[in-house]
Symmetry: C2
Subunit: 135 residues, 2 copies
Amino acid sequence: MTKDDVAGGDRNHHSPADDVETYMREGPGKRFIEPRILFLLSRGPAHGYELLGRMDEVPMPGPVPDTGAVYRRLREMEKGGLLISAWDERDSGPRRRVYSITAQGGRRLAAWVEAMRRRMQTLQSFLDLYEEKRS
Amino acid sequence: MTKDDVAGGDRNHHSPADDVETYMREGPGKRFIEPRILFLLSRGPAHGYELLGRMDEVPMPGPVPDTGAVYRRLREMEKGGLLISAWDERDSGPRRRVYSITAQGGRRLAAWVEAMRRRMQTLQSFLDLYEEKRS
DNA sequence: AATATATATATGTCAAATACATATATCATA
DNA sequence: TATGATATATGTATTTGACATATATATATT
């Protein structure tokens, strides 16, 4: 059930499903949560809620990820050795789990960056091929 | 269960999960099957098996999609009005369902192309931001 | 003649990622 | 006292596609 299978008519003109935004997104599937988190934490430790509010600082395809997905991913990344966390000591306010990136997390970020470079090249090749055809 | 949670040790040196290939892929999730099919069919009608063999002609992130995924996607795309198919008439060989792209499919391809352009720009912004930090 | 391989299309099943909804608790302000 | 911001977390449903398997035709090899 996609948003454009309202069926009937509508077969001749521009349909809502042709909207570019629909194809900018990956989902469901990768929303690039991991590289977003790694990038933000490479600039210094932060807790989940802060990261959540700063997700839009990282230029990545697709909308910013969901709250639950981010917290869950943070735990998984810690389990995988990419991050470490500690409860902060504050005498007031709800407790926060502060995350830091590990050396392994740094290498993972480097891998993501290289992947993004290659991805750009791939997309450029696709666009070249597409233009070539119609020039 | 990812291929790098073999656990124990291995925390200090380059782990197999840092391999760039792992992050070039989208999966599970979009394998860009739709734009691949649309692009190939924009050059002329073809049947599923042929498209399958020519998937690698389209530069797209990630590995070429699975057989079953392609056939299933072809049917869905036809149902959505992006393609039309007809059984070819051959006196020999297994029967083939030959697909052609529709006008709507052409518009969808255009949307994908524009999405790819924007995606490239987004990735460039990410890389710029990353370099900026470390220069 | 029997077997294997290429061509060709299709379905069954499972796991991964994550959106959406909800639950919990602290603290400040109206 | 109620509302909203801060802060973390879990329950559940959906989507996508890999992997495996099933079916059939035709050709090449033994």
